[in-house]
Protein backbone atom coordinates (compact mmCIF):
# COMPACT_ATOMS: atom_id res chain seq x y z
CA UNK A 1 0.00 0.00 0.00
CA UNK A 2 2.79 2.35 0.96
CA UNK A 3 4.79 1.57 -2.17
CA UNK A 4 1.68 1.91 -4.27
CA UNK A 5 1.01 5.38 -2.94
CA UNK A 6 4.59 6.40 -3.61
CA UNK A 7 4.43 5.17 -7.21
CA UNK A 8 1.23 7.13 -7.65
CA UNK A 9 2.91 10.28 -6.37
CA UNK A 10 5.90 9.68 -8.63
CA UNK A 11 3.87 9.06 -11.79
CA UNK A 12 1.57 11.95 -10.89
CA UNK A 13 4.59 14.26 -10.77
CA UNK A 14 5.95 13.04 -14.09
CA UNK A 15 2.77 12.92 -16.15
CA UNK A 16 -0.32 14.48 -14.61
CA UNK A 17 0.94 17.39 -12.61
CA UNK A 18 3.79 18.08 -14.99
CA UNK A 19 5.14 21.36 -13.63
CA UNK A 20 6.04 22.87 -16.95
CA UNK A 21 3.17 21.75 -19.13
CA UNK A 22 0.31 21.65 -16.62
CA UNK A 23 1.20 24.11 -13.90
CA UNK A 24 3.31 26.51 -15.95
CA UNK A 25 6.20 26.72 -13.53
CA UNK A 26 9.76 26.96 -14.80
CA UNK A 27 8.73 28.23 -18.21
CA UNK A 28 11.86 30.36 -18.53
CA UNK A 29 14.36 27.49 -18.81
CA UNK A 30 11.76 25.50 -20.74
CA UNK A 31 11.79 28.10 -23.53
CA UNK A 32 15.33 29.30 -23.04
CA UNK A 33 17.37 26.12 -22.91
CA UNK A 34 15.33 23.80 -25.11
CA UNK A 35 17.04 24.68 -28.38
CA UNK A 36 19.45 21.78 -28.28
CA UNK A 37 18.79 18.25 -27.08
CA UNK A 38 22.04 17.99 -25.09
CA UNK A 39 21.47 21.31 -23.33
CA UNK A 40 17.84 20.44 -22.57
CA UNK A 41 18.71 17.10 -21.01
CA UNK A 42 21.56 18.70 -19.02
CA UNK A 43 19.24 21.34 -17.65
CA UNK A 44 16.58 18.72 -16.85
CA UNK A 45 19.03 16.56 -14.91
CA UNK A 46 20.39 19.57 -13.05
CA UNK A 47 16.88 20.67 -12.06
CA UNK A 48 15.97 17.17 -10.88
CA UNK A 49 19.13 17.04 -8.80
CA UNK A 50 18.54 20.46 -7.24
CA UNK A 51 14.87 19.67 -6.53
CA UNK A 52 15.88 16.55 -4.59
CA UNK A 53 18.53 18.44 -2.60
CA UNK A 54 16.17 21.35 -1.95
CA UNK A 55 13.41 19.08 -0.68
CA UNK A 56 15.85 17.17 1.51
CA UNK A 57 16.81 20.45 3.18
CA UNK A 58 13.60 22.47 3.22
CA UNK A 59 11.31 19.71 4.48
CA UNK A 60 13.22 19.23 7.77
CA UNK A 61 13.55 23.00 8.16
CA UNK A 62 9.79 23.36 7.90
CA UNK A 63 8.85 20.48 10.17
CA UNK A 64 11.59 21.00 12.77
CA UNK A 65 11.92 24.78 12.92
CA UNK A 66 9.07 26.69 11.31
CA UNK A 67 6.19 24.50 12.42
CA UNK A 68 7.07 24.25 16.14
CA UNK A 69 7.79 27.99 16.23
CA UNK A 70 4.44 28.74 14.54
CA UNK A 71 6.25 30.62 11.79
CA UNK A 72 4.70 28.80 8.81
CA UNK A 73 4.13 32.10 7.05
CA UNK A 74 7.90 32.51 6.71
CA UNK A 75 8.22 29.45 4.48
CA UNK A 76 8.52 31.27 1.16
CA UNK A 77 11.30 33.61 2.19
CA UNK A 78 13.17 30.97 4.18
CA UNK A 79 12.92 28.49 1.31
CA UNK A 80 14.22 31.03 -1.20
CA UNK A 81 17.14 31.79 1.07
CA UNK A 82 17.97 28.17 1.70
CA UNK A 83 17.61 27.07 -1.92
CA UNK A 84 19.81 29.88 -3.16
CA UNK A 85 22.52 29.03 -0.66
CA UNK A 86 22.14 25.33 -1.37
CA UNK A 87 22.59 25.71 -5.12
CA UNK A 88 25.73 27.76 -4.59
CA UNK A 89 27.01 25.12 -2.20
CA UNK A 90 26.26 22.30 -4.63
CA UNK A 91 28.07 24.23 -7.34
CA UNK A 92 31.19 24.60 -5.21
CA UNK A 93 31.17 20.94 -4.23
CA UNK A 94 30.61 19.75 -7.81
CA UNK A 95 33.42 21.96 -9.06
CA UNK A 96 35.77 20.37 -6.56
CA UNK A 97 34.77 16.70 -6.77
CA UNK A 98 32.97 16.06 -10.07
CA UNK A 99 34.41 18.63 -12.48
CA UNK A 100 33.06 16.68 -15.47
CA UNK A 101 29.49 17.08 -14.25
CA UNK A 102 30.19 20.70 -13.30
CA UNK A 103 31.41 21.46 -16.82
CA UNK A 104 28.48 19.77 -18.48
CA UNK A 105 25.94 21.56 -16.27
CA UNK A 106 27.86 24.78 -16.77
CA UNK A 107 25.81 27.91 -16.42
CA UNK A 108 22.56 26.03 -15.71
CA UNK A 109 23.31 25.36 -12.06
CA UNK A 110 23.35 29.02 -10.98
CA UNK A 111 20.35 29.63 -13.23
CA UNK A 112 18.35 27.16 -11.19
CA UNK A 113 18.89 29.31 -8.09
CA UNK A 114 15.89 31.41 -9.00
CA UNK A 115 13.89 28.77 -10.83
CA UNK A 116 10.31 28.91 -9.60
CA UNK A 117 9.74 25.20 -10.27
CA UNK A 118 12.21 24.35 -7.50
CA UNK A 119 10.54 26.68 -5.03
CA UNK A 120 7.17 25.46 -6.25
CA UNK A 121 7.86 21.79 -5.61
CA UNK A 122 9.14 22.40 -2.07
CA UNK A 123 6.15 24.52 -1.13
CA UNK A 124 3.65 22.20 -2.81
CA UNK A 125 5.11 19.26 -0.89
CA UNK A 126 4.43 21.11 2.36
CA UNK A 127 0.96 22.19 1.28
CA UNK A 128 0.03 18.65 0.29
CA UNK A 129 1.08 17.46 3.76
CA UNK A 130 3.55 14.87 2.51
CA UNK A 131 5.96 13.23 4.95
CA UNK A 132 9.69 13.27 4.19
CA UNK A 133 9.83 10.13 2.03
CA UNK A 134 6.77 11.07 0.01
CA UNK A 135 8.17 14.58 -0.47
CA UNK A 136 11.41 13.19 -1.87
CA UNK A 137 9.54 10.87 -4.24
CA UNK A 138 7.29 13.70 -5.31
CA UNK A 139 10.33 15.92 -6.02
CA UNK A 140 11.92 13.15 -8.02
CA UNK A 141 8.73 12.78 -10.02
CA UNK A 142 8.44 16.49 -10.68
CA UNK A 143 12.11 16.66 -11.67
CA UNK A 144 11.73 13.75 -14.07
CA UNK A 145 8.60 15.39 -15.44
CA UNK A 146 10.60 18.55 -16.08
CA UNK A 147 13.31 16.50 -17.77
CA UNK A 148 10.70 14.75 -19.90
CA UNK A 149 9.10 18.03 -20.96
CA UNK A 150 12.49 19.56 -21.80
CA UNK A 151 13.62 16.58 -23.86
CA UNK A 152 10.29 16.26 -25.69
CA UNK A 153 10.21 19.92 -26.46
CA UNK A 154 13.82 20.00 -27.61
CA UNK A 155 12.85 17.42 -30.21
CA UNK A 156 9.79 19.41 -31.24
CA UNK A 157 11.82 22.57 -31.44
CA UNK A 158 14.52 21.14 -33.66
CA UNK A 159 11.76 20.24 -36.10
CA UNK A 160 10.28 23.73 -35.91
CA UNK A 161 13.63 25.37 -36.64
CA UNK A 162 13.76 23.57 -39.96
CA UNK A 163 10.22 24.20 -41.11
CA UNK A 164 9.17 27.24 -43.12
CA UNK A 165 6.93 29.01 -40.63
CA UNK A 166 5.05 32.13 -41.81
CA UNK A 167 7.11 35.20 -41.09
CA UNK A 168 5.03 36.67 -38.23
CA UNK A 169 5.22 33.30 -36.46
CA UNK A 170 8.98 32.85 -36.76
CA UNK A 171 10.92 32.40 -33.53
CA UNK A 172 9.14 32.78 -30.21
CA UNK A 173 5.47 32.81 -31.45
CA UNK A 174 5.67 29.42 -33.18
CA UNK A 175 7.59 28.08 -30.18
CA UNK A 176 4.79 29.14 -27.83
CA UNK A 177 2.15 27.63 -30.11
CA UNK A 178 4.10 24.38 -30.18
CA UNK A 179 4.49 24.46 -26.38
CA UNK A 180 0.73 24.81 -25.97
CA UNK A 181 0.11 21.85 -28.28
CA UNK A 182 2.59 19.73 -26.32
CA UNK A 183 0.83 20.82 -23.11
CA UNK A 184 -2.50 19.83 -24.63
CA UNK A 185 -1.10 16.40 -25.42
CA UNK A 186 -0.18 15.99 -21.76
CA UNK A 187 -3.83 16.43 -20.76
CA UNK A 188 -4.32 13.01 -22.26
CA UNK A 189 -2.55 11.55 -19.22
CA UNK A 190 -5.21 12.79 -16.81
CA UNK A 191 -6.98 9.78 -15.38
CA UNK A 192 -4.32 7.34 -16.57
CA UNK A 193 -2.35 7.16 -13.34
CA UNK A 194 -5.32 6.60 -11.05
CA UNK A 195 -6.09 3.43 -12.93
CA UNK A 196 -2.47 2.44 -13.35
CA UNK A 197 -2.40 0.16 -10.30
CA UNK A 198 -6.07 -0.50 -9.95
Amino acid sequence: MEIKALILVLMGGVLINNYVLQQFLGICPFLGVSKKFSQASGMGIAVTFVMLCATAVTHPIYTCILEPAKLEYLQTIVFILVIAALVQFVEIVLKRFIPALYNSLGVYLPLITTNCAVLGVTINNITAGYDFITSMVSSLGVGLGFLLAMVLFAGVRSRIENCPAPKPFKGIPITLVAASIVALAFYGFAGVVENLLA
Binding site: A69, L71, L74, V78, V82, A85, R96, F97
Partner: protein, 270 residues
Amino acid sequence: MDILVPVLLLVVIAIICAVLLTVSSVFFAVKEDERAIAIREALPGANCGACGYSGCDSYAKALANGETDKTNLCIPGGDAVAKCVATLLGVEAEDVVEQVAYVACNGKCGRVEKKYDYQGVKTCASANLFFGGDKSCTSACLGYGDCMRACPQDAIYVEDYVARIDPRKCVGCGICVRECPNGIIRLINDTSRVVVECSNHEKGVITRKSCPNGCIGCMKCEKTCKFGAIKVIDNLATIDYSLCTGCAECVSVCPVHCIHEGNFICGAHF
Protein backbone atom coordinates in the same frame (compact mmCIF):
# COMPACT_ATOMS: atom_id res chain seq x y z
CA MET B 1 8.23 41.82 20.40
CA ASP B 2 6.45 39.28 18.18
CA ILE B 3 8.39 40.45 15.17
CA LEU B 4 11.71 39.78 16.86
CA VAL B 5 11.53 35.97 16.63
CA PRO B 6 10.99 35.68 12.85
CA VAL B 7 13.56 38.39 12.17
CA LEU B 8 16.10 36.66 14.36
CA LEU B 9 15.30 33.29 12.81
CA LEU B 10 15.82 34.62 9.29
CA VAL B 11 19.04 36.34 10.29
CA VAL B 12 20.33 33.18 11.92
CA ILE B 13 19.49 31.05 8.86
CA ALA B 14 21.12 33.62 6.58
CA ILE B 15 24.24 33.71 8.75
CA ILE B 16 24.43 29.91 8.79
CA CYS B 17 24.15 29.85 4.99
CA ALA B 18 26.77 32.57 4.64
CA VAL B 19 29.21 30.80 6.94
CA LEU B 20 28.61 27.50 5.17
CA LEU B 21 29.23 29.04 1.77
CA THR B 22 32.32 30.94 2.89
CA VAL B 23 33.84 27.92 4.57
CA SER B 24 33.06 25.63 1.65
CA SER B 25 34.40 28.08 -0.91
CA VAL B 26 37.70 28.12 0.96
CA PHE B 27 37.66 24.44 1.80
CA PHE B 28 36.64 23.18 -1.64
CA ALA B 29 38.53 25.82 -3.59
CA VAL B 30 39.67 24.51 -6.95
CA LYS B 31 43.09 25.45 -8.15
CA GLU B 32 42.63 26.96 -11.59
CA ASP B 33 45.48 26.39 -13.97
CA GLU B 34 47.70 29.37 -13.24
CA ARG B 35 49.24 29.25 -16.67
CA ALA B 36 45.82 29.56 -18.30
CA ILE B 37 45.12 32.67 -16.25
CA ALA B 38 48.53 34.15 -17.06
CA ILE B 39 48.12 33.42 -20.77
CA ARG B 40 44.65 34.91 -20.72
CA GLU B 41 46.15 38.07 -19.23
CA ALA B 42 48.75 38.21 -21.98
CA LEU B 43 46.21 37.88 -24.81
CA PRO B 44 44.59 41.07 -26.07
CA GLY B 45 41.09 40.08 -24.95
CA ALA B 46 39.37 41.19 -28.14
CA ASN B 47 37.62 37.78 -28.44
CA CYS B 48 37.78 38.20 -32.20
CA GLY B 49 38.17 34.50 -32.96
CA ALA B 50 41.03 34.99 -35.41
CA CYS B 51 42.94 32.18 -33.65
CA GLY B 52 40.20 29.71 -34.49
CA TYR B 53 38.96 29.36 -30.91
CA SER B 54 35.73 30.85 -29.65
CA GLY B 55 37.51 33.52 -27.64
CA CYS B 56 40.63 34.47 -25.77
CA ASP B 57 39.56 32.34 -22.80
CA SER B 58 39.28 29.12 -24.77
CA TYR B 59 42.53 29.77 -26.64
CA ALA B 60 44.31 30.31 -23.31
CA LYS B 61 42.79 27.12 -21.94
CA ALA B 62 43.77 25.12 -25.02
CA LEU B 63 47.34 26.39 -24.76
CA ALA B 64 47.58 25.60 -21.06
CA ASN B 65 46.10 22.12 -21.48
CA GLY B 66 48.49 21.36 -24.29
CA GLU B 67 45.66 20.90 -26.82
CA THR B 68 47.61 23.11 -29.16
CA ASP B 69 51.25 24.09 -29.18
CA LYS B 70 50.79 26.93 -31.61
CA THR B 71 51.62 30.09 -29.71
CA ASN B 72 51.40 32.25 -32.81
CA LEU B 73 47.70 31.99 -33.56
CA CYS B 74 46.77 35.38 -32.11
CA ILE B 75 46.87 37.66 -35.12
CA PRO B 76 45.74 40.90 -33.44
CA GLY B 77 48.33 40.41 -30.69
CA GLY B 78 51.13 39.88 -33.14
CA ASP B 79 54.70 39.02 -32.30
CA ALA B 80 54.62 40.67 -28.87
CA VAL B 81 51.81 38.45 -27.58
CA ALA B 82 53.24 35.34 -29.23
CA LYS B 83 56.55 35.97 -27.50
CA CYS B 84 54.85 36.57 -24.16
CA VAL B 85 52.75 33.40 -24.45
CA ALA B 86 55.77 31.37 -25.53
CA THR B 87 57.76 32.49 -22.48
CA LEU B 88 54.84 31.61 -20.23
CA LEU B 89 54.74 28.12 -21.71
CA GLY B 90 58.50 27.81 -21.86
CA VAL B 91 58.66 27.15 -25.59
CA GLU B 92 60.41 28.95 -28.38
CA ALA B 93 58.52 31.87 -29.86
CA GLU B 94 57.30 31.57 -33.39
CA ASP B 95 56.75 34.50 -35.66
CA VAL B 96 53.16 35.47 -36.18
CA VAL B 97 52.22 35.88 -39.77
CA GLU B 98 50.39 39.12 -39.23
CA GLN B 99 47.69 39.88 -41.66
CA VAL B 100 46.13 43.03 -43.00
CA ALA B 101 43.00 43.49 -45.01
CA TYR B 102 42.76 45.50 -48.19
CA VAL B 103 39.86 46.46 -50.40
CA ALA B 104 40.31 45.05 -53.86
CA CYS B 105 38.62 47.90 -55.70
CA ASN B 106 39.96 51.15 -57.05
CA GLY B 107 36.75 52.48 -58.55
CA LYS B 108 37.07 55.91 -57.04
CA CYS B 109 34.66 58.81 -57.36
CA GLY B 110 33.42 59.29 -60.89
CA ARG B 111 35.44 56.41 -62.25
CA VAL B 112 32.74 53.76 -61.97
CA GLU B 113 29.54 54.44 -63.88
CA LYS B 114 26.30 54.36 -61.92
CA LYS B 115 23.59 52.01 -63.10
CA TYR B 116 20.82 53.84 -61.32
CA ASP B 117 20.22 56.33 -58.56
CA TYR B 118 20.02 54.37 -55.30
CA GLN B 119 17.77 56.03 -52.75
CA GLY B 120 17.33 53.15 -50.29
CA VAL B 121 18.86 52.38 -46.91
CA LYS B 122 22.47 53.46 -46.98
CA THR B 123 24.14 50.12 -46.42
CA CYS B 124 26.11 47.98 -48.85
CA ALA B 125 24.08 44.91 -47.94
CA SER B 126 20.80 46.55 -48.90
CA ALA B 127 22.17 48.31 -52.01
CA ASN B 128 23.61 44.98 -53.12
CA LEU B 129 20.09 43.50 -53.17
CA PHE B 130 19.19 45.70 -56.14
CA PHE B 131 21.01 44.29 -59.16
CA GLY B 132 24.25 43.91 -57.22
CA GLY B 133 24.50 47.54 -56.20
CA ASP B 134 24.21 50.89 -57.95
CA LYS B 135 27.66 50.79 -59.49
CA SER B 136 27.80 49.34 -62.96
CA CYS B 137 30.65 47.03 -61.94
CA THR B 138 29.18 44.20 -59.89
CA SER B 139 32.45 43.62 -58.07
CA ALA B 140 32.84 47.25 -57.06
CA CYS B 141 33.09 48.61 -53.55
CA LEU B 142 29.62 50.03 -52.99
CA GLY B 143 31.03 52.57 -50.58
CA TYR B 144 28.20 52.61 -48.05
CA GLY B 145 30.61 51.55 -45.32
CA ASP B 146 29.26 48.26 -43.92
CA CYS B 147 32.87 47.25 -43.30
CA MET B 148 33.62 50.62 -41.69
CA ARG B 149 30.83 50.09 -39.15
CA ALA B 150 31.89 46.51 -38.49
CA CYS B 151 35.58 47.30 -37.93
CA PRO B 152 36.47 47.05 -34.23
CA GLN B 153 39.68 49.02 -34.77
CA ASP B 154 38.27 52.01 -36.72
CA ALA B 155 40.77 51.15 -39.41
CA ILE B 156 38.37 51.56 -42.33
CA TYR B 157 37.23 54.80 -43.87
CA VAL B 158 35.31 55.56 -47.03
CA GLU B 159 37.04 57.91 -49.40
CA ASP B 160 35.66 58.85 -52.81
CA TYR B 161 32.91 56.21 -52.41
CA VAL B 162 35.48 53.44 -51.93
CA ALA B 163 36.39 51.88 -48.60
CA ARG B 164 40.03 52.15 -47.65
CA ILE B 165 41.80 50.29 -44.87
CA ASP B 166 44.53 51.89 -42.81
CA PRO B 167 47.14 49.12 -42.44
CA ARG B 168 48.57 50.84 -39.36
CA LYS B 169 45.33 50.27 -37.51
CA CYS B 170 44.24 47.00 -39.15
CA VAL B 171 44.86 43.95 -36.95
CA GLY B 172 43.80 41.38 -39.53
CA CYS B 173 40.82 40.00 -37.64
CA GLY B 174 38.89 39.47 -40.89
CA ILE B 175 35.52 40.78 -39.69
CA CYS B 176 35.27 43.14 -42.68
CA VAL B 177 36.04 40.25 -45.03
CA ARG B 178 32.93 38.47 -43.77
CA GLU B 179 30.89 41.66 -43.74
CA CYS B 180 31.44 42.79 -47.34
CA PRO B 181 28.46 41.66 -49.47
CA ASN B 182 30.58 41.68 -52.62
CA GLY B 183 33.42 39.78 -50.99
CA ILE B 184 36.05 42.18 -52.28
CA ILE B 185 38.00 42.64 -49.04
CA ARG B 186 40.92 40.25 -48.77
CA LEU B 187 43.38 39.32 -46.08
CA ILE B 188 47.06 39.23 -47.03
CA ASN B 189 50.24 38.72 -45.07
CA ASP B 190 51.71 42.02 -44.02
CA THR B 191 54.97 41.08 -45.71
CA SER B 192 53.25 41.37 -49.07
CA ARG B 193 54.34 44.29 -51.21
CA VAL B 194 52.02 44.26 -54.19
CA VAL B 195 48.25 44.02 -54.42
CA VAL B 196 45.76 43.91 -57.27
CA GLU B 197 43.07 46.45 -56.51
CA CYS B 198 40.31 45.04 -58.63
CA SER B 199 37.90 42.11 -58.25
CA ASN B 200 36.16 42.19 -61.62
CA HIS B 201 36.13 38.87 -63.43
CA GLU B 202 34.29 40.19 -66.49
CA LYS B 203 35.98 40.31 -69.85
CA GLY B 204 38.20 43.31 -70.52
CA VAL B 205 35.72 45.10 -72.77
CA ILE B 206 32.92 44.91 -70.23
CA THR B 207 35.21 45.89 -67.37
CA ARG B 208 36.54 48.82 -69.36
CA LYS B 209 33.02 50.10 -70.00
CA SER B 210 32.07 50.17 -66.34
CA CYS B 211 35.35 51.33 -64.80
CA PRO B 212 38.57 52.69 -66.34
CA ASN B 213 40.54 51.48 -63.29
CA GLY B 214 39.51 47.83 -63.59
CA CYS B 215 41.76 44.95 -64.57
CA ILE B 216 41.17 44.17 -68.26
CA GLY B 217 43.16 40.96 -68.23
CA CYS B 218 45.71 42.19 -70.79
CA MET B 219 48.35 39.73 -69.49
CA LYS B 220 51.08 42.38 -69.48
CA CYS B 221 51.83 41.75 -65.81
CA GLU B 222 51.91 38.00 -66.35
CA LYS B 223 54.46 38.38 -69.15
CA THR B 224 56.55 40.83 -67.15
CA CYS B 225 56.79 38.81 -63.95
CA LYS B 226 60.08 36.89 -63.83
CA PHE B 227 58.93 34.66 -61.03
CA GLY B 228 55.62 33.52 -62.44
CA ALA B 229 53.91 34.95 -59.40
CA ILE B 230 51.20 36.89 -61.17
CA LYS B 231 48.69 35.15 -63.37
CA VAL B 232 45.55 36.30 -65.09
CA ILE B 233 42.85 33.95 -63.86
CA ASP B 234 39.30 34.49 -65.14
CA ASN B 235 40.22 37.87 -66.63
CA LEU B 236 41.68 39.13 -63.38
CA ALA B 237 45.33 39.44 -62.41
CA THR B 238 45.98 37.29 -59.33
CA ILE B 239 49.16 37.25 -57.30
CA ASP B 240 50.58 34.07 -55.80
CA TYR B 241 52.20 35.49 -52.68
CA SER B 242 54.36 32.43 -52.13
CA LEU B 243 56.26 33.37 -55.31
CA CYS B 244 56.00 37.17 -55.27
CA THR B 245 59.21 38.91 -54.31
CA GLY B 246 57.77 42.39 -54.30
CA CYS B 247 59.91 43.63 -57.19
CA ALA B 248 56.97 45.70 -58.39
CA GLU B 249 57.76 45.26 -62.08
CA CYS B 250 54.09 44.55 -62.71
CA VAL B 251 53.07 47.81 -61.07
CA SER B 252 54.86 49.88 -63.69
CA VAL B 253 53.56 47.99 -66.71
CA CYS B 254 49.87 47.84 -65.76
CA PRO B 255 48.06 50.06 -68.27
CA VAL B 256 45.05 50.64 -66.01
CA HIS B 257 47.07 51.07 -62.81
CA CYS B 258 45.12 48.51 -60.87
CA ILE B 259 48.25 46.88 -59.39
CA HIS B 260 49.56 48.84 -56.47
CA GLU B 261 52.66 48.75 -54.37
CA GLY B 262 52.51 49.36 -50.66
CA ASN B 263 54.23 48.67 -47.42
CA PHE B 264 51.84 47.04 -45.02
CA ILE B 265 54.29 46.50 -42.19
CA CYS B 266 55.17 50.09 -41.39
CA GLY B 267 51.85 51.16 -42.80
CA ALA B 268 52.81 53.48 -45.67
CA HIS B 269 49.81 54.52 -47.69
CA PHE B 270 49.50 53.89 -51.30
